[in-house]
């Protein structure tokens, strides 16, 4: 587990959580969209909070796909659920919101879950998909790689 991988997992957690809440905040400013004016949903993108939220969710998707390329789904999901905890702590200490006892219990449960999975292995599947698919894909990619290698020459 390298620093880069920790950063990607942190990125999944933070980008997802912050992106979601920016989107929610923006949509509250935009207001309800009537079924007769569905085109308003496109205009919602002009709201800076919505636009920022979409950018962060794109970053989330990139980080999530990257994490899934080297770790199990059942590792990535709990490990990145720390995002919920980050959000709740932000609400408490940045926005000074009140956090109920039920939410504190939730924070403790999620943190415990993350602790459980973080101590285990990243990947538990061996040579199921990978080798065959790699062999299928590799020849196609080779000419491209020679092209990309030109920089090195």
């Amino acid at each position: 587990m390298t620093l880069r991988k920790y950063l990607v997992l942190a990125g999944v957690a933070v980008f997802g959580a912050v992106g979601d809440s920016m989107l929610a905040h923006g949509m509250k400013q935009v207001g309800r969209i009537s079924i007769h004016h569905l085109q308003d949903v496109v205009l919602a993108v002009l709201n800076p909070w919505v636009a920022g939220g979409i950018l962060l969710l794109l970053a989330f998707f990139g980080a999530y796909m990257s994490a899934l390329s080297w770790a199990d789904l059942t590792y990535v999901l709990p490990a990145t659920s720390m995002g919920y905890v980050v959000l709740a702590l932000m609400a408490r200490f940045v926005l000074n919101e009140h956090i109920s006892q039920m939410r504190w219990t939730g924070i403790i449960l999620i943190s415990a879950g993350v602790g459980f999975v973080a101590g285990g292995p990243l990947v538990t599947t061996h040579s199921h998909d990978k080798p065959e698919e790699f062999e299928e894909l590799e020849p196609e990619e080779e000419p491209e790689e020679v092209g990309a290698g030109e920089v090195k020459r």
């Binding site: 796909m65 899934l68 080297w70 199990d72 709990p78 449960l109 879950g113 599947t125 894909l137």
Partner: protein, 126 residues
């Protein structure tokens, strides 16, 4: 009727989310370690390989289906019910589906983690 519609749309939402996560996870295992590939062949090669993967495309379609199911659910019920219910059911569904379809070794440690996170999410978002 309201309950039936709410819970049916939550079920559809969870189905699409789990399907999306499972096929995207499989797609990215087939694409290979993105960091290595990026260093070796550049970003463009990573993007091309992802877009050329059938599972990746199915995953995106499933995620889109889930998005619309969520909008539908939200029009029938409060976000304070839909979000935690869908998130925690998706966690548990993913653990079961990853074991069956991705052959991940979901040992006791991971079951406990999935259950704790699912319960935690339900409490925190509720």
């Amino acid at each position: 009727m309201k309950h039936l519609l709410t819970w049916s749309s939550i079920t559809v939402l969870v189905f699409f989310s789990v399907l999306g996560d499972i096929v995207l996870s499989r797609a990215m295992k087939q694409v290979g370690d993105v960091h290595e590939l990026w260093d070796r062949a550049g970003l463009w090669s990573v993007v091309r390989r992802m877009l050329g993967n059938a599972n990746f495309v199915i995953g995106i379609v499933a995620m889109t289906g889930g998005f619309f199911a969520m909008l539908f659910a939200l029009s029938w019920a409060d976000v304070s019910l839909v979000a935690p219910a869908a998130a925690s059911l998706t966690f548990l569904g993913n653990a079961v589906a990853a074991k069956i379809f991705l052959k991940e070794k979901v040992d006791r440690r991971r079951w406990i983690a999935a259950a704790l996170v699912a319960a935690g999410v339900a409490l925190i978002a509720g």
